[in-house]
């Protein structure tokens, strides 16, 4: 048990900001075990109480936050990786010259279009022609 005078000294040092962590602990412990009606007593008990509530609260939030941020990080990482991977995969054969791309596209469309037309005249096996067939017949 500390003497009143020692507490007075410590308090004086405390308000000057000169106490060490150990001395502050002593002060807090003292006011916890000797709840008085003085302002200091209220103050130190308030600090103790505040400390415990803050701790519990932050514990709950941080756990949830960790999940959300982990989920977000993984999602962003995977999407980015997939995008980069996809791009890298597509790149090697991509035509950069618009003129060449134009020619290639024209040829490809003509090839497909030509077959679509031939398909109507030639012997053909049709397994599924539904709407596409109707459209083509309307057209020709």
């Amino acid at each position: 048990m500390l003497m009143e005078s020692q507490i007075e000294n410590l308090l004086e040092k405390y308000w000057k900001g000169e106490t060490s962590l150990e001395e502050e602990k002593v002060l807090k412990a003292h006011f916890k075990s000797n709840p008085g009606l003085s302002n200091e007593s209220h103050y130190f008990r308030y600090l103790n109480k505040q400390k415990s509530t803050l701790y519990e609260g932050s514990k709950g939030i941080s756990k949830r936050n960790a999940w959300i941020s982990a989920a977000a990080t993984i999602t962003i990482g995977v999407v980015t990786a997939a995008l980069v991977f996809n791009d890298a995969k597509r790149d090697p054969f991509a035509i950069e010259d618009p003129e060449k791309a134009f020619e290639a596209t024209k040829n490809a469309l003509l090839m497909i279009g030509g077959e679509l037309q031939d398909g109507q005249n030639h012997t053909m096996e049709l397994t599924k022609f539904n709407k596409a067939k109707e459209e083509l017949q309307e057209d020709s």
Binding site: A82, R90, G113, F129
Partner: protein
């Protein structure tokens, strides 16, 4: 939460990888093979086409078709050692990828099969596989595909070619 993350991850991967995966597979397979021509045109290129000049009907139609496309890929070779096996393999890969056969054209020279993948009445992807005596070709277009327009484009261009030939004949006469 774990499940949600898993589902989101899975969805993002599948949706990104789905378009033109069959052709991409063949492009990768013959990446180092010089006898195979591999071509890829991106949606960015298609948007550039619309800035080119064009007033003829077939040109307008061409821009209209390409503006709705997201990509085009071609893998082709003029000289393959086993065209039949390659053709059969490609057809089976296309079927496995969930495509429905639209039409088959067979003649003495070549086999052509066109397959499509539809979603909500819209054709999202079209793959044409062609196999000849020594030739093999796989063409895929991806985006919003209107068969009617593509067929019309081919007929318009054929007519133009004929006109050109007629004019040429007249010029010679």
């Amino acid at each position: 939460m774990k499940k949600l993350v898993f589902v989101i991850t899975l969805l993002s991967i599948t949706s990104l990888a789905f378009g033109q995966q069959v052709v991409t597979k063949y492009m990768d397979k013959y990446e180092g093979d010089e006898t195979f021509t591999k071509v890829s045109v991106s949606s960015k290129m298609f948007s550039l086409f619309s800035e080119m000049e064009g007033s003829e009907e077939d040109e307008q139609l061409f821009y209209d078709i390409t503006s709705k496309l997201k990509g085009m890929k071609v893998v082709a070779s003029e000289k393959v050692s086993n065209p039949k096996a390659l053709f059969e393999g490609a057809i089976s890969d296309v079927n496995k990828a969930g495509f429905e056969e639209l039409m088959t054209v067979k003649d003495a020279e070549e086999n052509v099969k066109i397959s499509i993948r539809e979603k909500g009445g819209v054709i999202e992807e079209l793959i044409m596989v062609a196999g000849g005596k020594e030739k093999f070709a796989m063409v895929s277009i991806y985006g919003e595909i209107d068969l009617k327009q593509i067929s019309k484009l081919a007929s318009l261009m054929r007519v133009n070619q004929l006109k050109y030939l007629e004019n040429l004949d007249e010029a010679i006469d």
